[in-house]
């Protein structure tokens, strides 16, 4: 029996009258790639922010790597990696400076940072770009680098918020290979995406609408349940019933 890494019960976030996340419950097991799907405004990002210790839940409870999201936000932050679509790295620092910064932030020693940096640059074939400003890298490269930096300190869980938004199909493919590699190494991956082909790669998928989780299972089981040929059809069937789109 594998360990449960993320466990959420009746998690709710309200902003005034608006209930962004409405009593969601789920568990994520160690080494899983957990796809967190939903239309824009369904509440994915809000839910994810609560798990990462960026936002306090209004009610309900949850743990990440055994720590309470209400009380131990700062302890959780030591154990997770996080990468979002909007940015992630400092554009006005070079590749190496960014890696060194995050190595320092997560308390890796100088030598350890140096070793992991070299390994990372080799793996990404980035050696020649190591002194390039991150801001002048193409988006796809940036995202691959951001993922590598988010996992530099070998976190137990990594949260990816639409990591492949705006990235070309070839780079997306490479990005998912990196995700698989991380998962194979025991890292739990919690990922939101709008690409349904990516949902097919996940071990399990949850689909949110109107702040609630409407479906949660393996891609194959979901397709059976909804009588759909692809995840795309499953998603459409659920999203069509949603009020908040």
């Amino acid at each position: 029996m594998t360990r449960t890494v993320i466990s959420v019960r009746e998690l709710t976030k309200r902003f005034g009258d608006f209930t962004a996340v409405d009593r969601i419950s789920f568990d994520v097991r160690e080494g899983e790639i957990f796809g967190f799907l939903g239309a824009n405004g369904a509440g994915k990002t809000t839910a994810m922010r609560m798990l990462c210790g960026l936002s306090y839940p209004t009610s309900g409870s949850g743990t990440v790597d055994g720590f309470d999201i209400m009380r131990d936000g700062e302890k959780i932050k030591r154990r997770i990696g996080y990468m979002s679509q909007r940015f992630s790295l400092y554009d006005d620092l070079t590749v190496r400076e960014n890696i060194r910064l995050y190595g320092g932030i997560y308390g890796l020693g100088r030598r350890q940072t140096q070793e992991r940096m070299e390994e990372l640059l080799r793996r990404l074939d980035f050696m020649s770009e190591r002194d390039t400003l991150v801001g002048s890298l193409p988006l796809g490269w940036k995202q691959k680098l951001a993922f590598s930096v988010a996992t530099l300190h070998r976190p137990g869980v990594v949260f990816l918020d639409e990591p492949t938004g705006g990235v070309d199909p070839l780079t997306r493919r490479q990005f998912w290979e990196m995700i698989y590699e991380a998962a194979a190494g025991g890292t739990t991956v919690f990922v939101t995406t709008h690409y349904m082909d990516e949902a097919e790669y996940c071990s399990r998928v949850s689909i949110m609408a109107d702040g609630r989780i409407r479906a949660l299972d393996t891609p194959a089981a979901l397709k059976r349940e909804f009588g759909a040929a692809t995840m795309d059809d499953v998603f459409r069937k659920i999203a069509r019933e949603a009020k908040r789109i």
Partner: protein, 366 residues
């Protein structure tokens, strides 16, 4: 503490990599110190004067030539009567009308008549100071005339000696104020903008989701600007010394220790404001609000003592008010830290308050 060094390294690299900030922090203070002391002056020169000479004697001519010779006045000419002189004043050509009555030169009381001075009060400073200068000129002329006719009369008996700024050089009064304005601008705005830029770009999210503590993060936002502001102050003091010949009457240590406290307070305020704002516009607007109050109410330009009582109470809540007192006293009078301990204590209190707020106002989890 290791984390602080990591973050400081980041901030310093980002500062130098910025195309605008290093240039701004070097050029702006130098320009301010080289240009503003020449233009921020309260001395009034070239007050336009029209004379209505009803006396036409050697005495009245002496007064007119004295007016003409003064730097403070520019003699526009004489007018035949008051009304035509008033027309020149209304047209904006003249600022002051001097009406010399018939019998100005006479000293016998029954025939003596007063000179009348009429000034345009629209520009109150120019009107008031111009009138003052003119009164002095008239009185000096009268005293001279009196002295010539009655050699034993007590003529000009009053001797004025201006201590601490013996030449009453207005520039010397303004230079410490300009240094303070620079420190408010750089010490307050730079850290505020630096922080809110991380919010706008979203990079602060990556910090919020990391184990970086609030204290090291805030300190890394403050410390570089403390150093920058003290460096800028040093450059400004060198310019004051070598361009304007203004030396510090007191000790440089007294200036620096007050400046450290002051920049701690200003940067703490800037970061607190940025912590509460989500956009650059919001931060800028709030900071301008504070800067306008600081500049107008701290005694930088007009003395606190001449403000209404209620306004004087408000000034006690403004950190620059104490710093202005310290800077002028140390720079011009040579006052010591021991004599100014209340002001130092007040500045220290503000520094502690604002820097604590800056750390507390930073929320990693909302």
């Amino acid at each position: 503490m290791k984390i602080l060094l990591v973050l400081l390294d980041k901030e310093i690299r980002q500062f130098w990599r910025n195309r605008f900030l290093p240039v701004m922090t070097i050029v702006f203070p130098i320009l301010v110190m080289l240009i503003f002391p020449w233009i921020t002056t309260m001395e009034v020169r070239n007050v336009g004067v029209v004379v209505v000479d009803g006396d036409r004697s050697s005495a009245s001519r002496r007064l007119v030539s004295k007016i003409g010779a003064s730097d403070n006045f520019s003699l526009l000419g004489t007018a035949p009567d008051f009304n035509s002189a008033l027309a020149a004043l209304e047209a904006g050509e003249a600022d002051i009308i001097v009406e010399i009555p018939d019998g100005f030169g006479e000293i016998r009381a029954e025939e003596h008549r007063n000179v009348s001075i009429s000034a345009n009060g629209v520009n109150a400073v120019k009107g008031a100071l111009g009138t003052q200068y003119m009164l002095q000129t008239v009185m000096r002329t009268q005293a001279e005339l009196l002295g010539e006719k009655m050699p034993f009369s007590p003529a000009d008996d009053i001797a004025v000696l201006n201590l601490y700024n013996p030449t009453l050089e207005y520039r010397f009064y303004m230079i410490p104020a300009l240094m303070i304005i620079l420190m408010i601008m750089l010490g307050g705005f730079l850290p505020a903008l630096n922080l809110v830029i991380e919010k706008e770009k979203g990079t602060i999210e990556q910090i919020n989701v990391s184990p970086v503590g609030r204290l090291p993060f805030t300190l890394a936002k403050l410390i570089p600007f403390w150093i920058i502001v003290l460096a800028v102050l040093s450059v400004a003091m060198l310019i004051a010394r070598f361009v304007y010949g203004l030396t510090i009457a007191g000790s440089a240590g007294a200036i620096y220790s007050a400046s450290v406290l002051f920049v701690l307070a200003m940067s703490g305020l800037g970061v607190t404001v940025a912590n509460h704002s989500s956009t650059m516009q919001q931060t800028m607007f709030e900071m301008f609000f504070f800067v306008v109050i600081f500049v107008l109410m701290s005694g930088l330009i007009t003395p606190v003592e001449s403000m209404p009582e209620w306004a004087q109470w408000i000034t006690r809540l403004l950190p620059p008010r104490y710093f202005v007192d310290i800077m002028r006293a140390v720079y011009l009078k040579g006052t010591t830290v021991a004599e100014l301990w209340r002001e130092y204590l007040a500045l220290g209190g503000f520094a502690l308050l604002f820097d604590t707020l800056a750390v507390v106002a930073y929320k990693k989890q909302a």
